[in-house]
Symmetry: C3
């Protein structure tokens, strides 16, 4: 992936998760600048962990625009909430799914650039995707999305496998990205809409 | 800030948060050495995250005295609790507010030394201030202070802006520190005492 | 400790904690690949934090076999759960105690190799031992084991002191390891079986 693609996709992913953190803060009646704190942790949490694990400079400290977009996305969402704008109830899940798909791709790519193998790359893609939202849910004392039975980690992993597959077939980047994004978002949205499940444990009578 | 100032203020901040972690452990009936674990996480959590984000050596591993002061402050608090000493109920909030103010200053300063811009420095000041207490609250399954509506993040941010302002005006360090500390502690204590609020979201009929 | 010992013990510790994470996921009805995510966080969480604190390459990114063993241990546990195999109810605690003892030793050793003093080494041993399980419990919204009154941190610390003592007496490695492991596991299991306690705070009438 060219540096520019990487940068733009990362900015979009950060913005999506910042909106998702702000919406969660609204649901939880967080007040004052706690809203912006929660939005920021959600937006940069996953990527921060990835960079620390890879021993790379943390992306939002190396380049200040990530922080600006995080704050801007959160403030715009707050303003929309304060005006008459009504966010439909599924907004949080949709925004979260797009962020998940984008961060997954970015994590895999950054991992491969740092010469990890593909298993570690897919692991770090999932890490980048899920950790911001995981920390958001833990702070808000929600059951973390990744622990619920609706294909959260599974959608992320499948998107990672799709990206890896298309990448090995030397498909142009734009299609790797679109294919992986489509896979993650389709599985995640489908699971929420049609209650798809991957039952891992067999419960007696379950 | 001279290295010595930095060191002394950091030791004081670590001691304050260690006391705050121990008091929370008392409230939560934590037993055995779990008390010391909780005190330590509270005391060094925020600064550890800051150092990892800046890719600097973690302060309490580079210099062992931070760990000694953490353990000492926790043990002294435990001994006082075991004797007839009664801590007033607001002790935790007061100690936490002082730690918040001190760590905020230290985070900003360490950030600027590492040549980040002022926006990132203020972000890292707030990070240093709030994260130890945030992890403490998450582990104890309390609603994190930063998520409640009493100017926690706001006081931290305001203290940061005050410090930055005085710093730019080339005011002597001692007044930068006192001004920022006074701002953070005054706002935080005032919010707890007079129920000041910064309503971010507008609720219908709220 | 020779590198090979280190590697083998670390693989065993990772496997134990991966099993413990999977068993917790079963108790909590986690579904889909969330199980594997929880198992992985439990298995590599403590060691990851240790390596980041020491500014060393994260062990499971430097060597991919740690990740393979994590996934394998989780999948084998899932398969056993799905077949008629019934895990006794104390399995989680036993597996967790062994992992705790092993990671404690590994953390101390890796710390000493990086030339920290003994106080920091014992602190990092405890960190390595308890953090994977702590994150697992926080994500699952359980009261963290380390906060409960049954010698969790105390057993870890005692095992660390035993290791340090034997190490200073120049006892052969295998006995350092066995002595430390025996101390941690005996104290932890004893506390669970006979309700041993270390009352830190004195409660009126308590």
């Amino acid at each position: 992936m060219s540096d520019e693609w990487f940068h733009v996709l990362n900015l979009i992913g950060v913005a999506f998760f910042s909106v998702s953190g702000t919406l969660m803060a609204f649901e939880k009646d967080v007040d004052g600048f706690g809203v912006v704190v929660l939005a920021s942790i959600t937006a940069v949490g996953g990527g921060t962990l990835r960079d620390v694990l890879l021993d790379q400079p943390v992306f939002w400290i190396a380049q200040a625009d990530y922080l600006y977009i995080t704050y801007a996305a959160s403030i715009v969402t707050i303003i929309l909430q304060r005006t008459s704008w009504e966010f439909p109830s599924y907004t949080l899940n949709v925004v979260d799914a797009f962020g998940l798909g984008l961060f997954n791709i970015i994590g895999i790519e950054k991992s491969l650039i740092n010469e990890t193998g593909m298993v570690i790359a897919i692991t770090l893609g999932t890490t980048t995707g899920i950790f911001g939202g995981l920390i958001r849910d833990v702070i808000c004392r929600e059951i973390p999305m990744v622990m619920r039975g609706d294909l959260y980690a599974t959608a992320c992993l499948s998107g990672g496998l799709m990206y890896a597959g298309l990448f090995y077939l030397s498909v142009p980047y734009i299609f790797c990205i679109l294919g992986s994004l489509a896979t993650t978002i389709f599985l995640r949205m489908g699971a929420l809409h049609w209650n798809w499940e991957v039952p891992i444990f067999k419960r007696p009578g379950g």
